[in-house]
């Protein structure tokens, strides 16, 4: 092969392809080959019967789907291994699905076997306009532009652009009430000094003695459940930030961060349950390593070491809630979280 010797095209010729005599001349479209159905009328009749049978069967199945709709009780169940399910649903679906399929298959069979299958050719024309058309349209445009005086009357032009441009403002401003401004909402949860830590299923307060070493409890603040009666939204929003996990670890295994010496009670520590990555609730706890894993992107936090990230895409430890014990001996919060919980945000600092 003599690639190197081929002529090179200039950039201004605008393409990278070379015209050299074609090695083989175009022999033209292949001759048409006849199908059995073109030659043998019996074969054609057979196909006709096939196609019409498919269409008719489709009609029968369509009726069948209506019968199934009324005849099969809506709660009856069809049991057959992986194909189990609601019988009414399956029967209607099977009938309609098969009916649709048969209509389609019949039409395609008809087209492939019976309709004339000689290929035809159609010419293409370049997309661009002819020079005469270009000249025509350019003249028409220029004439219109001149008649309007758009080019000359700069005052009108500027006015128009200013007016139209400024109309974009209300289009944006009117969306302002889509939501409140963030303010400080992301910095607070409903935890506060003296709020009891309660089990998130039973809503019962927790005593240190209730927890054995190695145990992890999903908990919420005691002031969360009453919110549900007041407002379902407030309840969900508060829950999305206030959910915590309480864990008891052998005190000798805990590495306490300076300043957090009195945040735990006998090895009982409390952390936000909301992943600092993008906010999934973390869920899987491995006792032996004290690691919790977020199921969303597998960030792993070491609860014995201030919940610092040991693996995965999260960048910050889970915020810790300082614990105390109230006069009746139940676990309570010393205060709200000392930093925003959940995913990071720009203003967070």
């Amino acid at each position: 092969m003599s690639d190197e010797k081929l002529p090179v095209v200039k950039a201004d010729e605008g393409h990278g392809a070379v015209e050299v005599a074609e090695p083989i001349a175009d022999p033209g479209i292949e001759p048409h080959e006849y199908r059995i159905t073109d030659i043998d009328p019996k074969a054609a009749d057979r196909v006709e019967r096939q196609v019409s049978a498919m269409f008719t069967l489709a009609g029968v199945l369509a009726l069948g789907s209506c019968v199934a709709y009324f005849a099969i009780p809506r709660d009856s169940v069809f049991e057959f291994g992986p194909l189990s399910g609601n019988a009414n649903n399956m029967a209607i679906g099977l009938c309609i699905g098969l009916a649709l399929f048969l209509i389609g298959a019949g039409a395609i069979q008809w087209a492939k076997k019976l309709m004339v299958d000689e290929e035809i050719s159609e010419d293409r024309h370049p997309a661009h306009s002819s020079p005469e058309q270009i000249q025509d349209i350019t003249e028409a445009f220029k004439q219109g532009a001149a008649e309007s005086g758009f080019g000359r009357r700069t005052l009108i032009r500027r006015g128009l652009f200013t007016g139209l441009g400024l109309l974009g403002l209300p289009a944006v401003v009117l969306l302002r009430d889509l939501g409140p401004l963030p303010g400080r909402t992301l910095y607070h949860t409903i935890w506060a000094k003296g709020i009891r830590v309660v089990n998130d299923v039973t809503a019962r307060p927790i005593k240190p003695a209730d927890m054995i070493v190695g145990q992890l409890v999903n908990a919420i603040p005691a002031n969360l459940p009453p919110l549900q009666e007041e407002s379902a939204v407030e309840y969900q929003n508060a829950r999305a930030k206030a959910a915590v996990i309480v864990v008891r670890i052998r005190p000798t295994e805990i590495r306490t961060k300076p300043g957090r010496e009195n945040w735990g009670i006998d090895g009982i520590l409390c952390y936000s349950k909301i992943c600092t990555h993008v906010g999934c609730p973390i869920s899987l706890y491995e006792q032996t390593t004290h690691h919790v894993l977020c199921p969303c992107h597998q960030s792993t936090f070491d609860l014995a070491d201030s919940a610092k990230v040991v693996f995965g895409p999260a960048a910050r430890p889970l915020p810790q809630l300082p614990l105390a014990v109230d006069s009746e001996g139940y676990l309570v919060a010393q205060s709200d979280f000392t930093e925003p919980v959940g995913p990071s945000f720009f203003e967070r600092g």
């Binding site: 990278g16 050719s121 999934c280 895409p313």
Partner: protein, 552 residues
């Protein structure tokens, strides 16, 4: 009735709209036939199915997050507090006859819609169908894929079950990570803090009106342009850049394409009847403090999920602000950059090759080794991210450590595409060589003959006229030449640096591509077909002799 007059109803319309003139041009419009041209059709039909089944769902679905106590017939959730959206999805699934069927067809069609669009895009890419004059249609098609993915994701969020809520929570966290505007965008999109009670009604109207409306508009323009430009075709005997060879719209394509719509609809209906998808009643209502392990988004979100999963946890804190690189890079920079590259590829390639001609003949992927390599590199990148989206599943399934899978992928996403590019390009070039060998030396027959002198050689038969023509029906491609540094008067050519870069890229683009043989080479090869690689027709006796002479 004579042929000079339309039947009454057609005449009525023709008198008012002149439909006869439109019909005359288009009834016998030619469409070429190839299986790969059906991919776009599948996408179109699944979209229509989505419109039909989606409308059915809107009759019962209540896009509201108001709290209700579930009293429907699914006993396991009876009495539970949940949003109206979730409760009505349960009603559609258990109390509306055919409702579950429609939900499942809707979801299967959504999955198929996006898969078909993606494969269709790959077909367009690898055959070069995006070249002039079709670049704008590529952009339209790409936009539809983009919108389709968003549409599907929002639809997944509507039922307000635990999985859909978790998906939205993740999205919310990503939005919140955007520098400067993240927190505000979040509060405006969700109407305040997450989850709030605005997201379902807002996403609903986007899902049933806004995005389908835009897609419908784009589909119409897309199809209009296909008809207007006329379909591309593969090169072959009688098929040139100036014609289109195939069957007429009326009747062959009317029957084939119309029939195919019913086939696609039928198959999605059967899937909806027999294959469970998104059984929301098993997940329970959304609760921001709960999540199920091993939760997975719909498949088309997997690559974003993977991109986020394999990113190490970097974050910067300074001047009172936080920059979450662990999200900015994998969610806000890489996917948009990737997607922009894909969307602009036709323009990039045209700039590099300097090709300004109209193209109506499709390339065989092997004949554009660099483009094909780039395509496979993109697919590899996408595929590796997608695998990353299931890193936990892979770890548990194959019993390897999650850390190792993740670390492997962190490197593989960069090295994999490079390797894939290089290997693919080499393969394409070898295939081109094989084609040329076939042209010059004919087919290997497996027939070994011994010459009177005792030398062994294999017989070759020349390839037939139609095939030979098809093999040569392609351009000779050469890198762009940008001319000399200075012209005759010693004036430096303008924008020299840019043009040099362009010439370099162009050289890279066409480097090593094998040109088809010239007429002389072909004639020469056929003339001296007497050495080891002989060319001549095989005869019966020779076939017979093969056996005996082989044994001798």
């Amino acid at each position: 009735m004579s042929d000079k007059e339309f039947p009454a109803p057609v005449k009525y319309l023709d008198d008012r709209l002149g439909i006869g003139k439109i019909g005359r041009k288009n009834l016998r419009k030619v469409f070429p036939d190839h299986w790969s041209f059906m991919l776009g059709e599948i996408a179109l039909y699944s979209f229509i199915i989505l419109l039909l089944t989606g409308t059915f769902l809107t009759f019962w679905f209540k896009p509201s997050m108001a709290e209700v106590e579930y009293q429907g017939s699914y006993s396991l959730l009876k009495g539970l507090h949940m949003s109206e959206a979730y409760a009505s999805t349960l009603d559609i699934s258990f109390d509306v006859r055919g409702g579950l069927l429609m939900r499942q067809i809707h979801h299967w069609a959504a999955v198929l819609f996006i898969a078909a669009m993606m494969v269709h895009l790959l077909r367009i890419f690898f055959t070069g169908a995006f070249r002039k004059p079709r670049e704008l249609n590529w952009v339209i098609g790409f936009t539809m894929l983009f919108l389709g993915i968003i549409e599907g994701f929002i639809g997944y969020g509507l039922p307000d079950d635990l999985l859909s809520g978790t998906g939205l929570r993740i999205t919310q966290g990503m939005i919140q990570a955007s520098p400067v505007i993240g927190t505000y965008m979040n509060f405006f999109i969700f109407g305040g803090e997450f989850p709030g009670d605005d997201m379902v009604p807002r996403f609903f109207i986007v899902h049933v009106l806004l995005i389908p409306g835009i897609i419908l508009l784009l589909v119409s323009v897309h199809l209009f342009l296909v008809v207007y430009h006329k379909h591309t075709q593969y090169a072959g005997p009688g098929r040139t850049n100036n014609n289109v060879v195939g069957y007429p719209l009326w009747p062959v394509y009317t029957a084939k394409a119309g029939g195919f719509f019913f086939v696609v609809f039928g198959i999605t209906a059967l899937m909806g009847a027999l294959m469970q998808i998104n059984p929301v009643w098993l997940y329970g209502p959304y609760n921001p403090a709960e999540v199920t392990a091993g939760s997975q988004p719909d498949w088309y979100m997997g690559w974003l999920e993977g991109s986020v999963r394999i990113m190490p946890g970097f974050e910067s804190h300074f001047w009172g602000i936080t920059l979450s690189w662990n999200l900015i890079i994998p969610a806000l920079l890489i996917p948009p950059a990737f997607v922009t590259l894909v969307a602009l590829y036709p323009f990039i390639e045209a700039w590099i090759t300097g090709d300004k001609r109209e193209h109506h003949l499709l390339d065989r992927p092997r004949n554009m080794p660099t483009r094909t390599g780039i395509g496979v590199a993109f697919m590899t990148f996408y595929g590796l991210l997608w695998i990353g989206g299931g890193n936990d599943l892979i770890a548990t399934h194959f019993g390897v450590s999650l850390n190792n899978v993740t670390w492997f992928l962190r490197f593989a996403v960069f090295l994999g595409p490079v390797l894939a590019f290089w290997v693919t390009r080499r393969i394409a070039i070898s295939l081109q060589r094989a084609d040329n060998d076939r042209l010059l030396h004919g087919l290997e027959t497996g027939v070994i003959v011994r010459s009177p002198e005792g030398a062994y050689s294999e017989k070759h038969t020349p390839v037939g006229g139609y095939e030979a023509y098809t093999l040569t029906a392609r351009d000779r491609l050469l890198p762009l030449d940008i001319g000399p540094e200075t012209d005759d008067n010693g004036v430096r050519a303008p924008r020299r640096a840019l043009n040099k870069l362009r010439a370099k890229l162009s050289g890279f683009y066409f480097a090593d591509a094998v040109q088809k043989p010239t007429r002389e080479e072909l004639e020469e090869a056929q003339a001296h077909g007497h050495d080891a690689d002989e060319i001549h027709e095989l005869t019966e006796t020779e076939t017979y002799r093969e056996v005996t002479s082989d044994r001798s």
